[in-house]
Amino acid sequence: MKGIAKSLMVTLSTFTRKPVTRDYPNYHRELPERDRAFPLLLWDKEIDEPFCTGCHACERACPVECMTVLMKDNPNHKSNGGDSSRRKIIDKFWIDYARCMRCNICVEVCNFDAIAMNNTWQGHELSVHDRKDLVMDLEQLLVQSHVGAIKEWVPVLGQSNETNE
């Protein structure tokens, strides 16, 4: 009987409280900066080119083989009169988001901190009518970092290496 009375009181107290529901499509909760959506490439704002050198490290490490990387000689390299120290640079890059399983391995193996997991809602809301539209090319992968839409977050691994040196 005490239990019945207690359960009635509990439900009454929840009745008087505010609902915890968030009206999701109209209201986006702020995501934590370590939120892990799909991988994208980062833009080096100082030199105005991608960080990625097309070294294939991520492509080889990818367990589901969702990446395709092509490299080229950097036209902006110092030997050509440019201001970049990158001898090679990314030419073409595709990531099949439909195949990616968001394991973060590409981010961990990258030697240049050039790839990161998207930590914005754009990384989650990717519904399309044709699954071919989920194969992102270089431009699509870079645009968010280029316009500064994603919150800067240096992976913990790279950060700690820098401070140790």
Binding site: M1, S7, L8, T11, P19, V20, T21, D23
Partner: protein
């Protein structure tokens, strides 16, 4: 032969038809409102929002549901008994309709004021069990069969305490006419004199409506919906409509019989608007408590349910009848009734508490089987 309806003199047959249409229309709208209200209130009990996308504040949710249900295919299993299966919803639905006839909504606002209104209500309200058993039998489905049988067992068991607690009211009022019963409460509502009968009545109505914690016949986790398993579309929606209509009927009856109806407090002279407010508040309170109990208490087992009716509620309501009889015959003061009612309530609470606290005793055969397995 002419009857008067809203002050107009019209033919008896048209009068009957108009009143029938009135029941159907009003009941459907109210049932839809109740479904919306239940979803909203239940959502708040669980800290959700409830329907909000269809129309302003989700008000059109019930309309959307109704359109969806009407649009669905009306399936009948090949092995089902066609007549029993297809007629069952009507047998659930029509008795509930009939229950409306004698209810005193406001002063002189009812379908037809019957001299034996309470008796009529009791007689009609138990007929819909036939429909439940028909639905269970006709579906040719084990779950539906078990559900239908459970519904019959439960309704027959809880009919007795329900009726006995209404008999007590009739004894006190000295009339079976619901109008007289309401007028008898102009000063003090009967819930003050008969607290035990009120509580027993409330518990029995929960069982009668198959509301949680007594929703054993339609328990989704045990019999996957009971008699409704094979129903879809419009027939299923008729069961649903019947359920909410009976919720409304019983809330009105509770308000009229125990809570003073439209006449307590401040009498019947304050006009229809005031009466409407009173009845709305009283039956709304009843409905809210029903939803509250649904949100709080888990479903009982079938043996607990039967035991609770036959071992606890029935003896207590018989004792209540006895006490009221003594009080009426020897013309004792009414305060005796209140005292006896409170004593009975204490007994009810303590018995229920002991029953809740006691561990489950298995029958002998099951106990030996379990010990052998261990």
């Amino acid at each position: 032969m002419n009857n008067s309806l809203f002050g107009f003199e019209i033919n008896v047959w048209f009068d009957g038809l108009a009143r029938l249409g009135l029941i159907v229309g009003v009941m459907t709208v109210v049932a839809m409102g109740l479904i919306y209200g239940e979803r909203k209130i239940l959502a708040r009990f669980q800290q959700r929002i409830g329907p909000q996308k269809t129309g302003p504040f989700g008000l059109l949710q019930s309309v959307a549901d109704a359109i969806k249900l009407v649009g669905k295919e009306d399936l009948r299993p090949t092995a089902a008994d066609p007549w029993t299966f297809e007629l069952a919803p009507y047998f659930v639905f029509i008795p509930i309709f009939l229950g409306f006839v004698s209810l005193p909504f406001l002063l002189d606002v009812n379908i037809r004021l019957l001299e034996l209104g309470l008796l009529y209500f009791i007689a009609v309200s138990s007929v819909n069990i036939v429909g439940w058993v028909m639905a269970g039998w006709g579906s040719d489905n084990r779950y539906a069969m078990i559900g239908g049988m459970r519904a019959a067992a439960q309704a027959i068991s809880y009919e007795l305490p329900l009726v006995l607690s209404l008999v007590v009211v009739a004894m006190l009022a000295g009339s079976l006419n619901l109008k007289d019963i309401v007028e008898g409460q102009a000063v003090v509502p009967y819930v003050v004199w008969l607290p035990l009968a009120f509580v027993i009545f409330f518990i029995s109505t929960l069982a009668e409506m198959n509301r949680p914690p007594f929703d054993i016949p339609i328990g989704e986790s045990e019999v996957v919906g009971g008699p409704f398993v094979e129903y879809s579309g419009i027939r299923w929606s008729m069961f649903m409509l019947g359920e909410y209509a009976s919720l409304w009927i019983l809330s009105t009856l509770t308000a009229a019989v125990f809570l003073g109806g439209y006449s307590w407090p401040f009498g019947e002279d304050l006009g229809k608007g005031y009466q409407l407010l009173l009845m709305g508040a009283k039956s709304g309170l009843y409905i809210f408590v029903v939803f509250w109990v649904r949100a709080s208490i888990p479903r009982l087992r079938i043996d607990q349910l039967m035991a609770y009716s036959w071992k606890v509620l029935l003896p207590l309501s018989l004792a209540q009848v006895l006490v009221v009889g003594f009080v009426r015959v020897y013309e004792l003061p009414d305060v005796v009734l209140t005292a006896a009612g409170i004593l009975g309530l204490v007994a009810l609470v303590s018995i229920t508490g002991r029953a809740v606290a006691s561990t489950r005793r298995l029958p002998g055969a099951a106990r030996t089987m379990r010990s052998e397995a261990a």
